[in-house]
């Protein structure tokens, strides 16, 4: 019954969030997903694995770059960072998302009937 309440993200939403997180601070996959879960207070049910195809798409579009390195916990990690194209893309996406959200919110708002 929890399943029925759960909603899929719209296409591009995950990518947008990843870019936003990476803009704040370059990080590796695990850290990314933990950050998204934590900041969304677990409102968003994200399968951890679904992060990776999204990351590959961003890599392919050259919106992020990846580099192997060693984390503070002395673990071999692949750190992603935003490219300048990624930053521009994020800006566009966020503004268009905000407009869409506003539209949806207005429609959903209790009307003055």
């Amino acid at each position: 019954m929890k399943k029925t309440l759960q909603r899929d993200l719209f296409p591009g939403a995950l990518e947008m969030m990843i870019l936003r997180v990476l803009k704040r601070k370059p990080s590796h996959g695990y850290a990314l997903v933990q950050h998204i879960k934590r900041t969304s207070d677990d409102l968003l049910q994200i399968e951890e694995g679904s992060l990776y195809p999204a990351l590959q798409r961003l890599l392919k579009a050259e919106l992020v770059k990846a580099e192997w390195g060693v984390s503070s916990t002395n673990r071999r990690v692949r750190t992603y960072r935003l490219t300048s194209a990624g930053a521009k893309h994020l800006e566009r996406e966020v503004s268009s998302f905000e407009r869409m959200l506003e539209g949806i919110t207005r429609v959903l708002a209790p009307g003055e009937s």
């Binding site: 695990y30 990776y52 692949r78």
Partner: protein, 897 residues
């Protein structure tokens, strides 16, 4: 370019990805363990939170992929796997295609090299042969080569034309070369100024002959062909500037032609400049071929008009001597008919090649039909698989594509194999092809031919795949799942495509077999024609030339020739010997001239009909086996005594005087200044230019005459063919003795064109035998493929109807009924195929009319015989599966279920 980089760095990308995911899980597990979970629980929890690892990896990898190509590759792999699973089918199908493609590629390479590629001269499209006809010239209509040019015509054309850059005349001949090893007779071409300029190709060594080499009584020069230079002088460059004795005349070698150079269609050893002396030229002397290069922008019609204009200049500028009317030639209606040089070179071989190409193309279609049938049967067996795939959501477009890919792979494999076959096939073609096939040395598998192979393979792949693919993988494929399995019985629908294919195969096979049958009839008709000589396998011929410089006195020449004949007769095993100016079918141009009969009147009294003439020695007729119809032949006494006697061919006697007997005692002469010669004998007609062509009228003069070639003094023919009848003809030992016999008379005489008459005869029929062999091969292939087609379909039907047949038998049908039922099915297909085939053959065989002899293109005997044979063979092919049907055990057949 980034996609290219991605393609190559994919392996690294995937490795990074797996590693990353692995690290991710590890980190999570560690964190959970640190939080107090057992390692096992932590692993499970981490995996649960992560989701399906394999799918994630797969999805992530897919980001990098090129979906359409990858799908295609997957389909190709799938197809290859399907082909590998059924190796027998794959081998049979691809071999069938390979043979078809191989044969087509081989023939195409010949068509391409001979007919399609431009000639090996720069701007070859400007080159023309100065062909002209003279429909008004009596007797000349028989000569397919038309009216050749006379030297005076050459001067007129060369000096007054507007349409040509350069223009010249040439003629082939033979000459003896002495002073280098053994005396040797070589093939020559005599060329005027303008010929080499028109052809415009550089020499390999030295320089071309030029105008300065063609001055009458000027310095004597000569050019060598590349082949002769290699053969005789081992490619020694210092030959340039040295002297070569040609016909006892020393000539300075000025250069060597490049490799493969031919003068129009003629291979030669030495090229001799001709130096016409303008002062001695008359209008007549039509003995030269003309070749010219048109100015850019001129059309053939304009060039023809230019020549027509110059004809009156020619008649105004020259004469045939006092008392003659130069404008007499207007009655000949000389008409220039310039031909592109390429047509001159390829000649009538194009008919043969296109017919062969067409038949081989038909064989390819039959092969495709066979393979399509195989594919249909195979796909029927795979219907369940296809239906399941469709049910599982495979789009039908993708399934059609998959099937097409399979047939395409078959076709491409066949094509690759076929290219190898073609390589061997071209070798074979060159062996069985007519030896006089033009441009033989140019035949090769070039880029265009390989392109043709690829196109053919792709096309056949499409044809092969389309029918089965559309039929079984189409939108209706899902029906198969429902009707599949045991319920499927023989619906008419199911067999229609395959039946149509078999009918088409039978029809095409009939067309090919009828063509082959017509060629066989032609061949047999040719063999029954009396060529005018007997038992050619026992007739040895050879050419010997006695040049002026070696023996100046004409009578001495005759004595030497006579002595050679006697020595030859004295050779063991020789029955008789004689000589003639040229044997029939030898390919040497015979002479012809106006011949006057005393009791006829001629316009202007200067021009009479043109007839071929020859010179024959006593004993020639008996040796050659040419029958004397009436009268007697020359004796040596007649010849030495210069008695004015002549013999004529039977058809000439009939034309002039009605019967051969009436000709005896009548009088003939060649030109007004010659005394009348009395006809003493009439000789049977001889097929001078091959059995396919009508025997020309011929005048036979003695070998020495008082007025030969218009000279007032006695003269002889210096180049003649010796003819020897012997059971030993053609053997090496015999030829050695013959050589010794000749050299015992004069050791400076080279022997040329040493052959048996049978070789000459076969060579003249080479075109027919080549066509026959090619059509025979095509017909046999078609027949075998057609039988396999019928057999395959019938036996497949029988195997599918086993249950039905079992029920029939169980219900009381007799074995004979079943046999009849199956045979009837086969007979129906064969009959329909034959009927369609007869219609098609009726339309198509007309195209080969030119190749036929003694039989019409619609010969009822051939049509009926081929149809009967085809139906019988088809029934035989049905009989084996029909017997199997008859022997079906009802119990076994029904228990199958």
């Amino acid at each position: 370019m980034s996609w290219l980089r991605q393609l190559f760095s994919r392996r690294r990308l995937y490795k990074d990805l797996s590693e990353e995911i692995h690290e991710h899980l590890e980190e999570k597990i560690e964190e959970l363990v640190a939080g107090g979970m057992s390692r096992k629980d932590a692993t499970a929890a981490a995996r649960r939170a992560f989701g399906n690892v394999t799918l994630t990896e797969e999805d992530s990898r897919n980001v990098w992929r090129w979906p359409s190509v990858e799908e295609l590759l997957a389909d190709v792999r799938y197809g290859l796997r399907a082909l590998r699973r059924n190796p027998l089918f794959t081998v049979v199908a691809s071999l069938t295609i390979a043979i078809g493609i191989g044969a087509n590629t081989a023939v195409f390479s010949v068509v391409n090299s001979v007919l399609l590629k431009p000639l090996n001269y720069p701007n070859a499209e400007q080159l023309v042969s100065l062909h002209q006809i003279a429909p008004g010239a009596p007797g000349l209509a028989d000569f397919e080569s038309g009216l050749h040019l006379s030297p005076s015509m050459y001067f007129t054309y060369a000096e007054h034309n507007r349409a040509f850059q350069s223009l010249g005349v040439w003629v082939t001949g033979t000459a003896s070369v002495t002073g280098v090893a053994e005396p040797e007779q070589v093939r020559t071409v005599d060329v005027s100024d303008g010929v080499l300029q028109a052809l415009d190709v550089p020499p390999a060594v030295g320089r071309w002959l030029s105008e300065a080499d063609q001055v009458p009584r000027g310095p004597q020069r000569v050019m060598l062909s590349y082949g002769y230079w290699q053969r005789r002088f081992g490619g020694d460059r210092s030959i340039v500037g040295r002297n070569l004795t040609v016909d006892a005349q020393p000539r300075e070698v000025v250069g060597v032609t490049h490799k493969g150079f031919r003068l129009v269609d003629t291979d030669f050893d030495v090229m001799v400049p001709v130096a016409f002396d303008r002062r001695n030229l008359i209008l007549a002397g039509f003995g030269f071929e003309g070749v010219a290069r048109m100015k850019p922008g001129f059309t053939i019609a304009e060039a023809n008009a230019d020549l027509t204009r110059m004809l009156s200049i020619w008649m105004d500028s020259w004469t045939n001597g006092p008392g003659t009317n130069p404008h007499f030639y207007e009655t000949w209606k000389i008409t220039p008919m310039i031909r592109p040089l390429k047509r001159e070179v390829t000649g009538n071989v194009s008919d043969v090649l296109w017919v062969v190409m067409g038949t081989i193309g038909l064989v390819m279609l039959i092969a495709c039909a066979n393979v399509t049938n195989l594919l249909l049967a195979r796909i029927e067996a795979r219907q369940q698989e296809l239906a399941v795939r469709a049910a599982l959501g495979a789009g039908w477009v993708r399934m059609v594509r998959g099937l097409l890919l399979e047939s395409m792979m078959l076709a491409l494999m066949g094509g690759a194999l076929g290219a190898a076959f073609a390589y061997a096939g071209v070798r074979l073609l060159l062996v069985i092809g007519p030896a006089n096939l033009p441009r033989l040395s140019e035949i090769s598998l070039d880029v265009r031919t390989l392109g043709f192979t690829v196109v053919l393979a792709v096309l056949s792949g499409l044809i092969l795949g389309l029918i089965p693919a559309l039929k079984y993988a189409g939108p209706l494929a899902s029906l198969a799942l429902r009707s599949g399995g045991r319920a499927a019985s023989a619906s008419r629908e199911r067999y229609r495509a395959r039946n149509i294919l078999v009918v088409a195969q039978v029809a095409m096979a009939l067309v090919l077999l009828v063509s082959a049958g017509l060629m066989i009839r032609t061949f047999r008709a040719l063999r029954t024609v009396d060529p005018g000589f007997a038992a050619p396998q026992h007739l040895q011929v050879m050419r010997i030339s006695i040049p002026d410089a070696l023996v100046p006195e004409p009578e001495r020449v005759l004595r030497i020739q006579n002595e050679i004949v006697e020595k030859l007769v004295a050779t063991p095993g020789v029955q008789s010997a004689g000589l003639v100016s040229e044997m029939p079918m030898e390919g040497f141009d015979s002479d012809w001239d106006c011949i006057f009969a005393q009791d006829k009147t001629y316009p202007d009294n200067v021009m009479a009909p043109l007839y071929l003439y020859k010179h024959i020695s006593p004993g020639f007729l008996q040796t050659a086996g040419t029958r004397l119809i009436v009268g007697r032949e020359f004796t040596w006494n007649d010849v030495y005594g210069l008695r004015p006697l002549v013999m004529i061919s039977e058809n000439l006697a009939r034309e002039l005087w009605g019967t051969p007997a009436a000709a005896i005692g009548k009088q003939l002469r060649e030109f007004p200044s010659m005394p009348w010669h009395q006809v003493i004998g009439v000789i049977q007609d001889v097929r001078e230019r091959g059995v396919q062509e009508k025997a020309p009228e011929i005048v036979y003069w003695p070998p020495m005459m008082a007025y030969l070639f218009g000279r007032k003094t006695a003269d002889t023919v210096r180049t003649v063919t010796f003819v020897i009848r012997s059971e030993r003809a053609g053997t090496e030992g015999f030829l050695n003795e013959v050589r010794q016999a000749v050299w015992s008379v004069n050791s400076n005489l080279p022997l040329a064109s040493v052959r048996t008459m049978e070789e000459v005869y076969d060579k003249s029929g080479a075109r027919t035998s080549f066509t026959l062999v090619m059509l025979g091969i095509a017909g046999a292939m078609a027949l075998v493929l057609g039988i396999i087609g019928i057999y395959g379909v019938i036996s497949y039907t029988v195997s599918q109807r086993k249950r039905e047949i079992g029920i029939r038998l169980a219900l009381g049908a007799q074995g004979g009924d079943v046999l009849q039922m199956v045979l009837k099915q086969g007979a129906k297909m064969a009959l329909v195929g034959v009927a369609i085939g007869i219609g098609a053959a009726f339309a198509l065989t007309r195209l080969m009319t030119n190749l036929l002899f003694g039989v019409t293109a619609h010969d009822p005997v051939t049509f009926a015989a081929v149809a009967a044979v085809l139906i019988m063979v088809a029934l035989l092919a049905c009989y084996i599966p029909a017997r199997r049907a008859m022997l079906v055990d009802p119990i076994v057949a029904l228990r199958y279920e």
